[in-house]
C-alpha cells in the first residue's frame, strides 16, 4: 500500500480550544475516503493544515512521502474549500482556466463536459452564482484537476438532491477511469456511504473511528427487548448507545456478532437489527462527548 498522505499526531489550538488534538491518519493511493464530523469538529482546520494553508502547533504532515515544512504547500494536491476564494468578478470559464495552471494533470475536455453535466453557464460571473452553483465550480475544478490527492470540503453544500447525485456519480465514473485518492469531508454520511471505501469519524479534533463503511454495516447493530436480558447481553461488548423504558430497552452495539451468538440472543427473546449509518454516527459522536 502506497501512502499518499500521512498525518502524525497533528495538533492545533485556537487559544484554549483544541481544534485538532494529536490526530493521526493515513490515506492510501487509489482510494476514496470520507471525513465525517459535525460542523466545528475540526475538519476544515485539519484540511487546511494538510494543504499548507495553516500550520500545526505540533505533529507532522507527510504528502506523497515528503514531510511538509512550515510555509510549504504540497504539490500534486487539489483542495476544494467549502469557502472558496475565487475572484467574484471572474467568469466561470476564466476561473476554470486559471485553476488549470496549477494542475499538471488537468483535463480541459472533462472540465467543459462537466459544465454541461452540471448545467453551469461558463459566461456567468462568480458573483452571479447561487451557493450550489458555486460549489459546482469548485467540484468541476476538483474533478478536472485529476490530482493524485483531491480533497473536497463539503462539496454538495447548497446543491439539490439531483445535483448531489450527479456529482457523486460523476466522481465515481471519473475515479474508475482515473484512479486517485479522494477525500470527501462532509457532515452527511448517507450520501457518501456507498461512494467511499473508508470513513474517518471526527469529533472534537480527534478521530473517533476509522473503518471501512462495509465493516461498520457489518458490525453495528441494535438489540431490543427486555432490559434485564439486554443488560446481560451487552456485558463485555462495545455499547455505543442505550436507552430503556422500564421493562424494555434498546442498545446500539459495535463489534463482531457470530451466527451462534445471534441465534442465542434471539432465542433469549432479543430482537437484533441493523442501524442506519447516520444514526450510528450520531450515537458514536454522542458517546465520544460523554467520555470527555
Amino acid at each position: 500500500m502506497n501512502s499518499v498522505l500521512k498525518v502524525n499526531h497533528l495538533s492545533k489550538s485556537y487559544g484554549r480550544m483544541e481544534a485538532v488534538d494529536s490526530l493521526s491518519l493515513e490515506l492510501a493511493e487509489h482510494t476514496i475516503y470520507g471525513l465525517l464530523g459535525r460542523n466545528g469538529a475540526g475538519k476544515t482546520t485539519l484540511l487546511n493544515m494538510i494543504t499548507g494553508g495553516m500550520f500545526p502547533d505540533g505533529g507532522e504532515v507527510v504528502v506523497h512521502g515528503r514531510p511538509l515544512h512550515k510555509g510549504e504547500v504540497p504539490t500534486q494536491v487539489c483542495y476544494i474549500r467549502e469557502k472558496n476564494f475565487y475572484p467574484n468578478g471572474a467568469r466561470v470559464r476564466d476561473v476554470l482556466q486559471m485553476a488549470s495552471a496549477f494542475h499538471p494533470d488537468w483535463d480541459s475536455g472533462l472540465a467543459s463536459r462537466l459544465l454541461g453535466t452540471f448545467k453551469l453557464n461558463p459566461r456567468k460571473k462568480m458573483r452571479q452564482l447561487s451557493r450550489g452553483m458555486e460549489s459546482m465550480v469548485g467540484n468541476i475544478i476538483g474533478l478536472a484537476s485529476r490530482a493524485p490527492l483531491t480533497i473536497f470540503d463539503e462539496p454538495v453544500l447548497g446543491l439539490d438532491v439531483l445535483m448531489r447525485e450527479k456529482f457523486y456519480r460523476t466522481l465515481l465514473e471519473d475515479y474508475t477511469e482515473h484512479p486517485r485518492t479522494i477525500l470527501l469531508s462532509t457532515h452527511l454520511i448517507d450520501e457518501i456511504a456507498t461512494v467511499v471505501e473508508q470513513v474517518f469519524i471526527m469529533e472534537n479534533g480527534s478521530i473517533l473511528m476509522s473503518e471501512e463503511v462495509e465493516q461498520i454495516r457489518e458490525r453495528a447493530y441494535t438489540v431490543s427487548g427486555s432490559s434485564a436480558v439486554i443488560a446481560s447481553f451487552v456485558e463485555g461488548r462495545r455499547v455505543i448507545h442505550s436507552e430503556g423504558y422500564g421493562q424494555v430497552g434498546v442498545a446500539v452495539l459495535y463489534g463482531v456478532l457470530s451466527e451462534q451468538e445471534r441465534s442465542e440472543a434471539e432465542s433469549r427473546g432479543l430482537l437484533i437489527d441493523g442501524v442506519p449509518l447516520q444514526k450510528f454516527f450520531a450515537y458514536l459522536i454522542e458517546e465520544g462527548q460523554g467520555n470527555e
Binding site: G53, N84, P87, Q97, M98, A101
Partner: protein
C-alpha cells in the same frame, strides 16, 4: 495561461474598481480645475508670495538651500500634474494586492514563494510603467499644458530633471518601487503583532521626528538623500536598498502567512 498569468489576471480583477475610481477622480479633478480657473479671478502676485514663503520655510527646515525652486514673481492657480495624480495608484496597489490576492492564489494551489516573486514582478512593472508615463508626460506638460495653465510635477519638485530624461525616469522608478515595497510590508500580514508594532512605530515616528529639533535635522537629511539626492546612483541606491529591506520583511511575513 501560466501561474504568473493567473496572478496578473487576479490582480487586475481585484484592482479593477480601484483603477476606475482613481482615473475617475483624476478626470473629475482636472475638469474641476479648468472650471475654477475660468470662473475665479485669482491674485497671481499673492499666490506667488505664498509659494516663495513656503519654499523659504522648507529651506529653513532643511538647514540649507536644498530646494532649488525659483518662486516666480506671479503665478496662477497651480495644479498637480495629471500624471502625478496617477501615483495614488502606488499605495492603492500595494495595499490591495497583499490583502486581496494572497488567499486567492493559495486557494488555487500556488506556493507562497512563487506568489511573492510574482507580486514583486508586478510591483516592478507598475513602478516602471508609472515612471514611464510621467517621463513621457513631462515634455508634453512643459511644452503644451503650461501654455494654458500652471502645473507642478514631482520631476521638478525633487530636481530630477537635472539628471536628464533617462535619469529622471530611473530615479522615479526606484522611488516608486520604494513606496510600493513600503506599503506592501505594512499590509502583508495584518494578523501579526509584529505588523501592529510596525504601524505603531511608523505613526509615532512622524510627530516625534518633526517635533524634536535635534532629530529634525536627521529626518530632513534622510529625505534629502532619499528624494533630492544630487547623485542619481546614490539616490536610486538608497531607494532600492530600503526597498530590499522592506521586501525581506514582507517575505518573512508572507512565508508564514496563513490563509
Amino acid at each position: 495561461m501560466n501561474k504568473m498569468g493567473v496572478q496578473m489576471r487576479v490582480s487586475v480583477l481585484r484592482m479593477r474598481l480601484a483603477i476606475l475610481l482613481v482615473i475617475g477622480a483624476i478626470a473629475v479633478s482636472t475638469i474641476a480645475n479648468y472650471t475654477i480657473n475660468a470662473a475665479l479671478q485669482g491674485d497671481p502676485q499673492r499666490d506667488a508670495q505664498e509659494v516663495a514663503a513656503a519654499v523659504g520655510e522648507l529651506n529653513e527646515l532643511a538647514g540649507k538651500d536644498a530646494i532649488k525652486i525659483e518662486a516666480p514673481s506671479e503665478i496662477e492657480n497651480i495644479n498637480i500634474s495629471s500624471a502625478n495624480l496617477l501615483l495614488i495608484l502606488l499605495p492603492v496597489l500595494a495595499i490591495i494586492l497583499p490583502l486581496r490576492t494572497f488567499r486567492t492564489m493559495l486557494n488555487f494551489g500556488d506556493s507562497r514563494g512563487r506568489y511573492f516573486i510574482g507580486l514583486l514582478l508586478i510591483y516592478a512593472a507598475a513602478a516602471l510603467v508609472l515612471a514611464l508615463c510621467n517621463s513621457l508626460w513631462w515634455p508634453f506638460e512643459q511644452g503644451v499644458i503650461r501654455e494654458h495653465s500652471q502645473t507642478i510635477n514631482l520631476i521638478e519638485v525633487f530636481g530630477w530633471d537635472r539628471m536628464g530624461i533617462i535619469g529622471a525616469f530611473l530615479y522615479q522608478a526606484a522611488f516608486y518601487f520604494f513606496v510600493l515595497s513600503l506599503f506592501n510590508l505594512l499590509f502583508s500580514r495584518m494578523k501579526s503583532p509584529v505588523t501592529w508594532i510596525l504601524w505603531a512605530v511608523l505613526i509615532a515616528a512622524i510627530p516625534i521626528g518633526t517635533s524634536i529639533a535635534s532629530l529634525r535635522v536627521h529626518v530632513a537629511d534622510f529625505f534629502l538623500a532619499l528624494l533630492f539626492n544630487d547623485s542619481l546612483l546614490a539616490g536610486m541606491g538608497l531607494n532600492l536598498a530600503l526597498s530590499a529591506v522592506f521586501i525581506a520583511g514582507a517575505w518573512l511575513f508572507t512565508r508564514h502567512r496563513t490563509i
